[in-house]
Symmetry: C2
Subunit: 323 residues, 2 copies
């Protein structure tokens, strides 16, 4: 979301946002801010809504019994988008939000749910977003989630996302998620239950540095004949940072599952990968792969012969890896 977009938003909807929120929106969201009648949004700033709009097909309402939103994507939705960025701009905030997404049969939607935390002191700040997705038959969701922390380098910023999804026959959920720096501790929990011939595709990109710690857990249960999951997690652990990857894929039907965890360690980074598979049906086909190591010397060498310094070469390789 560029500064033009934010000007659009503030002019059109009269949004009052802190500069820090605007800066974070620049990072976590790619919306151009223009109203085309096909974009719903809710901007969350320090535990409250700074602005909201529904569309004909996408209805956003506050929950009555808990902080958060009910987002209803109605039948006939095609190619529309929902932006629900959440920003925390100061320390001392502990934000907890429950967002439920109800995706009607056959609907097709893109959901963008970035979260940014900016703090300038060592006091803790946390965002804990619990997102549940209910995908009806043959619906399609592209879910983009970008997490970032900015500000004081020794701050205690935590982002602990919980994602739970239920997929009906023929549904497709594609998740592209990333956390690319500035978050001191993160606990990422993703759960999905697939019925019928539904499909889940997850692409996760993670980068930790200094003394950051990150745990990412995936639990996927394949109950439907023809269901499938393809889970790829790529991560880089720099500095003294520590990452744990756990996945558990259970095949209870004629299904296919693939998980892949690739990690690059530099400096004194440490990574644990533990991807479990359980085949409880003769027709379940499950595969996983994991590789942890540093950047191959020959890759660095090749880029150095092109004129890059060693650190430039490393940065280029890591950028490519996390792209």
């Amino acid at each position: 979301m560029g500064s033009d977009a934010i000007i659009h938003l503030t002019e059109r909807y009269g949004l009052q946002m802190e500069q820090a929120t605007k800066d974070l929106l620049n990072i976590v969201s790619d919306w151009d801010g223009k109203d085309d009648g096909r974009t719903a949004f809710n901007i969350r700033e320090n535990c409250a809504s700074a602005g909201r709009a529904s569309t004909e097909h996408i209805k956003i309402e506050s929950k009555e019994d808990a902080p958060g939103l009910n987002i209803r994507v109605l039948p006939g939705t095609a190619g529309e988008k929902v932006y629900i960025p959440a920003c925390i701009t100061k320390a001392g905030v502990d934000d907890l939000v429950y967002n439920d997404f109800y995706i009607a049969e056959g609907a097709d939607v893109t959901i963008v749910a970035g979260c940014g935390i900016h703090t300038e002191t060592g006091e803790p700040a946390r965002h804990n977003g619990i997102h549940r997705f209910f995908l009806e038959k043959n619906s399609h969701v592209l879910y983009l989630e970008k997490h970032v922390g900015t500000g004081f380098i020794k701050a205690k910023r935590s982002i602990d996302p919980v994602t739970e999804a239920w997929l009906a026959d023929g549904a497709l959920l594609e998740m592209e998620t990333s956390q690319l720096g500035g978050v001191q501790t993160a606990l990422r929990n993703t759960k999905a239950t697939l019925e019928g011939a539904s499909s889940l595709v997850i692409r996760e990109h993670l980068l930790t540095d200094s003394d950051e710690t990150l745990t990412t857990n995936f639990d996927v249960v394949l109950n439907g004949d023809g269901s499938s999951v393809n889970l790829v997690s790529r991560s880089v652990a720099r500095g003294e940072s520590y990452q744990e990857y756990h996945s558990n894929i259970v095949g209870n039907a004629k299904c296919s599952g693939h998980s892949e965890c690739d990690a690059i360690i530099t400096d004194h980074g440490k990574v644990t990968a533990q991807p479990a598979l359980t085949a409880a049906n003769e027709d379940a086909a499950l595969i996983h792969e994991a590789a942890i190591g540093k950047i191959a010397g020959e890759q660095i060498l090749k880029l150095r012969t092109l004129g890059l310094t060693e650190s430039e070469a490393e940065a280029a390789i890591i950028n490519g890896f996390l792209k």
Copy 2:
């Protein structure tokens, strides 16, 4: 160990063994029974030694403080063998044995440690062999371990091996282990600590059927620069059987680790694979792979076109897989 071998043994050493022990030895051990001055052995039958011989380089002694053996493979050992089969021929036996192997610097030895249990009633019988290997610098051990149960099909036979190994710089431990049927419950624990540029190679082959359950755990810690582990476990789960595979490879140095778990499920077999990797050093390179599924239809079809029935084709593929 064929019947000729057993005749040799009984004639030469005056061994008194039950027929059931002789039958089990046929399965778990490939020794021809001939004395060439280069083969040490101890045959364990229902918790006691039925016969023993040391050689010039390989000394077998009873432990004083626990059931079991101290086996010392002395400097200068080259191309010699130790056979230490253990047989249980009746229900109601709960055998616990501690065997320690001290392998001198530069020694080269093959150790064969099969275990067979034959029972004809439903009463439990168990063998729990705790084997510890201390490999001095540049020593080489080829360790062959075959486990089997025979007799009454609804018996409660358990074989719970514990293997622990410490490898010094330049040492190589090759383990070929198998459990190919007739064991109702098995808990297999293998641990190894590698110092210096030592290497561990493990090839495991498992088959379970009916309501058998099997858990195999591997913990490998790579402490030495240049150390490596290559762990391949292949298994088949038939009937209603259940298998769990866990491995944990920790790289604390400039090391390389590879683990692979391939499982075939037929009937209603169930398999869980959980291979963990932890890289705690920038120069650790760790990889794992796992695949669980049934036999590919095209493989069956190919063999059927050659005239095999479906079950013959399946048997041929499984035999090849576990070979």
